[in-house]
């Protein structure tokens, strides 16, 4: 029977299971440890006397009467106004994704449909810029930004993030577009579309998985960015990641580390949700070309 022939030896099954469990623990453990610890006081989570305190929360119980406390979250979100950072992150991410996808889809499409050979060099140049560490670019931006009084504002950071991110977006979308046969554009044109209508009504719908995957990568870049946002934003306009870094940087008062831990958990949760919602598109965008049949 085919099923019998395909059955793997038991030892192999056990080995792969063990491997997956170990891998899961290594990968997921830090996150769950942080999640658990974020509801404790600092002396529990970073207990020097007894590490099991972090699990049982003895000192937390002593302070608040319960083994769990939301003090870290309250401190971060309300006292330290982490909500402002979250809002800033949202604004930055939204505009970075929208801008780089708009330029990326239009540019990637145009490049993929152009027969000229400068396209190749354009893409290579784009890749080189992408390969440079962002910090080298940012330091170059600083003097003019100070001079023109642009430093500190969200739009400035958005523009720089888009600039850094655009080559990658362009490159990725370009390769997605190239996998879509030119016959589709040409069919659409003969059927009555202008070039832009062909792009809008025929190519983009076929491209969705690619656009979503690329959009997600842009989002992650903006969301996780530290170099640009830390250097270009003033305290009011800080996004989440530099804000977390700021929590950590002032450890002389008790609770700030816990603010950072709570903020880290807060910042991670949306990522989980996002990946779960879009996992199917991401997989199909990353593996197959966008078109079948």
């Amino acid at each position: 029977m085919a099923a019998a022939a395909q059955r793997k030896p038991v030892s192999l099954k056990v080995a792969s299971l063990v491997f997956i469990v170990i891998w899961l623990m290594v990968a997921a453990f830090p996150f769950f440890w942080t999640l658990w610890g974020s509801f404790k006081v600092e002396l529990d989570f970073f207990s020097i006397a007894d590490w099991t305190n972090a699990l049982t929360g003895d000192l937390t119980k002593e302070t608040y009467g319960r083994p769990f406390t939301g003090a870290g979250y309250y401190g971060a979100w309300v006292q330290e106004e982490f909500w402002r950072a979250a809002l800033n992150t949202f604004i930055v991410c939204f505009f970075v994704v929208v801008t780089s996808l708009t330029i990326g889809t239009l540019g990637g499409y145009a490049l993929s449909r152009s027969g000229h050979n400068y396209v190749f060099w354009l893409l290579i140049a784009a890749l080189i810029f992408r390969a440079m560490p962002p910090i080298t670019l940012v330091s170059g931006y600083l003097p003019p930004f100070f001079q023109w009084n642009l430093w500190g504002y969200l739009p400035t950071a958005i523009i720089v993030l888009v600039a850094i991110n655009q080559p990658f977006t362009l490159w990725m979308l370009h390769s997605f577009f190239q996998k879509i046969p030119k016959d589709l554009d040409e069919s659409a044109k003969v059927d009555g579309c202008t070039q832009f209508q062909a792009f809008r009504f025929v190519i983009i719908p076929v491209m969705w998985p690619g656009v979503i995957t690329t959009g997600l990568f842009s989002f992650l870049l903006a969301y996780n960015d530290f170099a640009v946002t830390a250097m270009l934003l003033n305290e009011q306009n800080r996004t989440m990641v530099p804000k977390i870094a700021a929590f950590l940087g002032t450890t002389y008062t008790e609770g700030n580390v816990m603010f950072a831990v709570a903020a880290v958990v807060s910042a991670t949760v949306p990522l989980f949700l996002l990946v779960m919602v879009f996992q199917r598109q991401i997989v199909s965008g990353l593996t197959a070309g966008a078109v079948k049949g």
Partner: protein
Amino acid sequence: MAEIQLKNVSKRWGSFIGVDNFDLTIADREFLVLLGPSGCGKTTTMRMIAGLEEATGGEIIIGDQVVNDLEPKDRDIAMVFQSYGLYPNMNVYENIRFPLKVRKVDPATHDERVMRAADMVELREFLHRKPAELSGGQRQRVALARAIVREPNVFLMDEPLSNLDAKLRVSTRAQIKNLQHELKVTTIYVTHDQIEAMTLADRVVVMQRGVIQQVGSPTEIYDRPANTFVAAFIGSPAMNLMEGTLSGGVFTSDHVRIAGLTGPDGPITLGFRAEDAAVAHDSTDTEISAPVYTMELLGDATMITVKAGGALVSVKANKDYRIEIDETVGLHIPAEICHLFHHETGARLDG
């Protein structure tokens, strides 16, 4: 309804000439087939008419309008692509409807027109499937339906049958012929398959390396090929072509002697079709006498091949005829069935 005029149309990429001085008028409602080996510029010619490729020289006129500078959408043509070019995200119904939608045809008429087009190609039961869920033949019919739904001035079809299996090709061919007859639309059809060309065309254009070799009805092209290229390209098997010399109306070459011809003395190429010739009865009507190279049973006939006049020469005999390889056979090639061609240019010699 439209006549199409191509005036000295050509296409160059750098120094490479894809189509050279293509000059032809296609009558209203005509079914014109562009025929030629792969890479001879058929698709390029069609794409220039569609507006997907810019002509580097000449004028293209559809109806009474020069269309060289018009976008494809403004040329009122419909095209069936070799790979069909169906929209993978739309179902069959939406695919067929798409041209009506983008051209802002009155939405109230959409349903009726889509249904009529779908009925013409027998697609009604598949309207809700995506292209990926269809067989090759069904996809091909969707492409056809999408082309006819709008009732354009001109149909362009680029090897629409080449991705189908042999049986389906025959039935779809008949369907295309019938559709064109019913819709009475000027049609340009590209193929490298001479049987498709012969069965479908009002007129055939035979092309080679971007140059028109002959324009004519299928019968003309078959009966009076304009040069050795057309002679060798049309017919199955291709026309036999032998090199030899003509003197005083007698063609001679190794194993060959054909009398009663009219033509200039000197080196010459002589051609005849396998089905026109026969096995000789006796030495008086034997023009070729040579050992048998091979014998093939075709079912409805027996094909005998010999080496003569510097080429392999085939003759169709009765289906019961049998002979051994290397046995000498006499073949009857009367002068009436012979075509004479210039030995260098390959051009036909008798008027």
